[in-house]
Symmetry: C2
Subunit: 356 residues, 2 copies
Amino acid sequence: MHQTTESKITVQKVKNSRIAQVDFKNLTFGNIFSDHMFECDYINGSWQNPTIKPYGPLTISPGAKVFHYAQAVFEGMKAYKDDNGNVFLFRPELNHERINKSSVRMAMPEFPKDIFFEALETLLQLDQEWIKPGMGNSLYIRPFSIATQVGVSASPSDQYKFMILLSPAQAYYTGDVKVVIAQKYSRSANGGVGFAKAAGNYGAQFFPTNLAKAEGFQQVIWTDANEHKYLEEAGTMNVFFRINDTLLTAPTGDRILDGITRKSVIDLAKRSHIKVEERPVLVSEVVDAAKNGTLKEIFGAGTAAVISPVSAFSYANVTYNIPSNNHEYALKLKKELMDIQHNVAEDTFGWRHQVV
Amino acid sequence: MHQTTESKITVQKVKNSRIAQVDFKNLTFGNIFSDHMFECDYINGSWQNPTIKPYGPLTISPGAKVFHYAQAVFEGMKAYKDDNGNVFLFRPELNHERINKSSVRMAMPEFPKDIFFEALETLLQLDQEWIKPGMGNSLYIRPFSIATQVGVSASPSDQYKFMILLSPAQAYYTGDVKVVIAQKYSRSANGGVGFAKAAGNYGAQFFPTNLAKAEGFQQVIWTDANEHKYLEEAGTMNVFFRINDTLLTAPTGDRILDGITRKSVIDLAKRSHIKVEERPVLVSEVVDAAKNGTLKEIFGAGTAAVISPVSAFSYANVTYNIPSNNHEYALKLKKELMDIQHNVAEDTFGWRHQVV
């Protein structure tokens, strides 16, 4: 254990790396973690003892509020390595802003920007061998904050733990993604927490998603809870619809996550003079477009999935295949996005943040 | 440690009870736990190793899904002791049914009824000194289930931990409860998880409740997310409105918890020939009734609060005091309910479940 002079973060290095045990060619998403993790506790009104230490279990009371009231928020980010060993984050300041917005909505304390970045950069320097070069390889980064005060009264915690875990991720072919448009279940409502990366938004989707899976679909596209008339998001991805040559996507707001991949896809599309409309998208217009052949593509956009082309959707028990199904815009935008992320293309937007 | 012959539950008793350190006359709700707790793990598709052991911390991976996706449900129950040392639960089969309904909605495995009851009864026998006789004293019981699989992919856990904690609770005077009727924030929507005791439903309410507290109110009465026209519940309590001599309360459904105290209050009211209407209750009719003097009472009903009279509500920035404010029905129903719970009155409904 040592404390660097310029750093507020205490660093306890592992004695022996576990990296040799990892088969980087056969990774399952999100279940292997790198050698180190970051931990910082909120006690008596301030964040204290920022520490990087070997990845390992927590000791926590079963009465901690996170278990009972899900005061818990998170982020998803990735680090990329180019062929020269340089390591980059992608628009990380947006993740920092968003976890703080999520925290405010969940009555949790915001996390300081300087420690957030110092923690990320120190972690990634320590665990840089866990980031493999090559298009699609990355180190998935999971910052999260949880309520640790012991007590089963339904009120905000006065203690929290902020952590960052790192998990190596691989480019993988997900196969055809088929989705169901929600007609009964819902994800969020106006005045709720749908815009936040609050833990509870995710667990609540598993049951309806299981129902979709039982019918051969992989994901649900959520609609407004009130009338199920408007297309919103897919829970782990924002969704784009290409009708003729125009991309449509729902506007962000109370109910929809302000996705960083979503935002970037819009900018990339506009750069290529693709028309993008951020507006409420009717289920009926997408169904009509599927029927009359003007629906050319559907794709999801999110950090974990990057850009995920959809080959078919189900609505009111009818399955509509995407007519052309060449995923032209999805694949073009995905390549442009990944080329920037992996330092293959010029970063005209200033999105890359070099770490190593 | 020993395993009783008739029991499937392994029991590890504490060497020294902590009970002498507890000031039972000055308890804060929910932050002291009794000597023992129950724990049972779901692994490979079945609940395994049911164990009662000394209350103490868990060792759990920071990658456990409960921290990231809030697959977590809970129950609230109480055990009561009469002056002869008999210990009772109140309609515990309803808590068992409800935690299983909550679990299904959160894509979590149901918990077997026989182990649930055996765990409760064994725990309460072991920790019966923690239940103090006297009207309003109780041992609050917190069964809960959490996702323990390690992994940050957004999909259901394949491992869970079911636990029961016990926390001594005291009769306490909460003071006048003043509430705000929600106009901007919302708690749940059709197709969502509002009917479930899912952890995420609670954390999501803390921020809007803090806003209400900053204006001198203690709780929020939630309204429908769509139009904020209908009164729903108070998050930790169902709500009753007495207009003239009729009690109104919202019907249960997707959005409203099927409260056991709510259900019992309805039965007790009907037994006294008080008219009860379970139907959508308009904000406007309660506001009108407050204005014309026909609104006689508002009260909340829930396990922790029992019955909690409301002295004033705020709507559209106007505060309405309850005109008569003698809490006639609330106090009558509260007395009848507590007399049954504490074995002071005859149990005509068969609600008591004797444990010791």
